[in-house]
Assembly symmetry: C2
Homo-oligomer: 144 residues x 2
Amino acid sequence: MKLSKKAEYALRAMILLAGSYRTGLLRIQDIAKREKIPQKFLENILVEIKTAGLIRSKRGAAGGYEFCMPPQKVTLAQVVRVIDGPLAPLSCVSRYAHISCPDEKKCKLKRVMLEVRNAVARVLEQVTFADICSENVQPMRGET
Amino acid sequence: MKLSKKAEYALRAMILLAGSYRTGLLRIQDIAKREKIPQKFLENILVEIKTAGLIRSKRGAAGGYEFCMPPQKVTLAQVVRVIDGPLAPLSCVSRYAHISCPDEKKCKLKRVMLEVRNAVARVLEQVTFADICSENVQPMRGET
DNA sequence: ACAATTCTCTACTAAATTGGTAGAGTATAA
DNA sequence: TTATACTCTACCAATTTAGTAGAGAATTGT
């Protein structure tokens, strides 16, 4: 059930980018240094997110990356899906990767795993990068 | 966020074993055949689950595997943890693999990922193999 | 025009993980 | 004592993960 390092890097980079939405572009090297992410690796990651249409870039001196749209329009789920693929623990319960179970009816696991997928999606699809950046911390539901 | 094939096999095998609790032992080959799991692979899996203390075995003719305790005492989470490790998407939010974040306070991701972990745990720690085996299907909370 | 800067694109790679397989060994029942 | 069924050690190929290398292209400032 773990996120890849790549996805974690992606999320951290996006949090920084969200923080400087409108204040200007952020350079790969600055993000890399601040979050201690290998720079060349981060380049690959940002290109993937850019290809997905969540951020855009400008080259040359005074270049860098920025959000395409306000951070409250982008959820953590979008980034996780771009980097790590579907949220579903079994591909047969993914809303995007539509692969049907061989034994559609008998599959009792499917029901539970769909609940898991939905539980994860409820969190990640609801939280935006604006939420994450806002300083006033909201009370957390759930256990401890 | 995906389960490994191994964990899926483990869950399916455990569902069968739960179904024949008290009716007798189940042989590896029978489980393998019914669930279309490579037999030698399943052997490894069952030994892991046995080592974790969830099932026990008997050797020789008329041997096989069975639950150590009633299926309503065993949750899906227990099996998933044995095979795939912690449920947490980041190891710093696992309740079991206690690894602290480098930047404990600044880590805004942690809060959200803890919510994800809790959401997953709430489902998997609540559902037992007895639940999964019971024929009367319960209505599902959440989306669709 | 040109140099410095910064993103871009193709390619490569080492290490870990995943998803198995092989085969000899040991316990049990009939 | 033989057939059956789990056990244990070891191995392995393919894929994924987590990067690295380096030349190229766009942009800015001089």
